[in-house]
Symmetry: C2
Subunit: 324 residues, 2 copies
């Protein structure tokens, strides 16, 4: 592609970002991708350095009314409380049994991570993976009544596909627990396990008669993957900064600033949940990020104005190109 | 390739593993790679799962008379002791100034990691990278008098190239410090930063006026990448087990056992330093690994018998296909 003035018209012909409404945000994405990938562009970036970092909860899939991971933990704790009635008097089981919504709605993603620890420590890694997979097979989103694996934002799936076409390497950089997110990352986003950077549970290697097995422990690896932890873990895992990053909350702010302050072209993007009709409208937990985005003149993706539709319309298998 | 009886003869025609002498080890490698990559093979493994893990020190490059990283630290400490004479009475500076060889030869790779910490904590990450790069540009191996970047074992470079041809994904899984090894991994082994799993120094994100910068701290991320830590960090970074792994010491034993105990075809390989003429002969630090290799009937790579030559003969640029 030698034409720098790639525009919405050209994109339409190619069918790129079809779920995005025409506007300055879509145009900024198209411009940026062309500027870094056209060989004769003065701001060309070689493919090995075209790193894109995506937050997950609220950026790639719906995080309301609760984090998906939280719904998984609640379900698991309910099962445990039925198996062991004595647990019903102990927190957090008590809150589950009594359906104490206030208790849960006050939780941050890090606190949910800790609940997962409590739930599944001393569990062999392969058993945990089975539990997560069963959850995704059996459970529906409480509001939309669709499988969670269909709760990805269609325009974001398209954005990832568009970046991949232009030889970007895509990483999920999520506050969620790494092995939880990995169980859907390939199916939903075509992101392999090695490209999921999350908050990781410490595992122990137990070797009996030379037979090693990974067992989940009660602690998390430092730093948790939120705020500055996202930048530190990207450094440890990738060893270079992204040139494009997308987030939606205060926990993504450091990652977006880090992306912006490289001596290279870059595109920080912030999703704004402003669509109360098709999804949920909320600024809570994103106040600092929204303020920074305005100050730094970042592109804010308005779900209400920039997305033609939020989720894939009908069978996700048909609607999302990447869904298997 | 539909022929399962790929053999040394076929390999010769293709020029594969030319620096390896014909023998059971070379044959085992050729067989294994064919068995997992031939589409009609009953033991076919899809490319996404063809993970190969290579230790670095003593497996890919020479670790005697000292770890390269140790030579870097000693040089740095010498410079510091000259700049700050009062340091000459304090260990480890005292040992450097007095050239106390016994002090250093007793160090493990983890202890060398800790010395690095001491040397370069509170240093901005980009400054550290510059120091490491200068070291590799200016220093020669004390025994061979060649740049360290020419101290890779030529047969191992060939093995990596051969695996890459067969769509393996290659990771360095090193006890050394991640950002130290990264500075040569691409040039020497064609391994990008994201595929170097090592012992990582904690970095802090310092943000002044919204300008973030990574600063190296005095602590290491847990677990250090040695012994069981190699398995745990592979799980965190890659999320799947290797089907081929190469090591040379006790610190690689867990990684080799982990590779062996997957419900898939696998090839654990142990390098034996038994060539006192062309390199160094030593079993120290590899006793348990050698014992396990015999018990488990792993292929032991004899540097004396399996390697036609150890290092690339003449200008590495010409001899190693992968050297840039």
């Amino acid at each position: 592609m030698t034409n720098h003035s790639y525009n919405i018209h050209t994109a339409k012909q190619e069918g790129a970002l079809a779920s995005w409404r025409d506007g300055s945000t879509k145009q900024a994405i198209l411009n940026f991708v062309q500027q870094v990938s056209a060989q004769d562009s003065p701001t060309y970036v070689p493919p090995a350095e075209r790193i894109a970092a995506f937050d997950n909860d609220g950026t790639l899939w719906c995080e309301k009314p609760s984090y998906v991971q939280e719904i998984f933990v609640i379900k698991y704790f309910h099962e445990q409380a039925e198996l062991h009635p004595e647990l019903r008097e102990v927190q957090p089981f008590k809150a589950f049994v009594e359906n104490d919504r206030a208790y849960f709605q006050a939780l941050s993603i890090q606190e949910v991570d800790k609940l997962i620890l409590q739930a599944v420590s001393d569990m062999p890694q392969d058993e945990y993976v089975q539990k997560v997979r069963s959850f995704f097979q059996e459970s529906l989103h409480p509001h939309y009544q669709r499988p969670f694996t269909e709760m990805a934002y269609a325009p974001m799936i398209e954005l990832m596909a568009y970046l991949r076409q232009h030889e970007f390497q895509i990483y999920l950089v999520t506050g969620g627990e790494t092995d939880f997110v990995r169980q859907v990352a390939e199916k939903m986003y075509e992101v392999p396990h090695s490209h999921v950077i999350g908050s990781s549970v410490m595992v122990k290697l137990e070797t009996h008669h030379d037979q090693p097995r990974l067992i989940r422990q009660k602690s998390m690896l430092e730093p948790l993957n939120e705020g500055p932890g996202k930048v530190i873990n990207m450094h440890v895992h990738i060893g270079q900064a992204p040139i494009l990053a997308v987030g939606n909350s205060n926990g993504d702010l450091d990652m977006l600033l880090y992306t912006e302050h490289q001596a290279r072209p870059n595109l920080p993007l912030l999703i704004h949940h402003d669509d109360s009709e098709r999804e949920f409208a909320y600024d809570h937990g994103a106040e600092r990020a929204l303020q920074a985005a305005t100050m730094h003149d970042w592109n804010i993706i308005s779900m209400k104005n920039d997305f033609n539709h939020i989720f894939s319309e009908i069978p996700a298998e048909a609607a999302c190109g990447t869904y298997k």
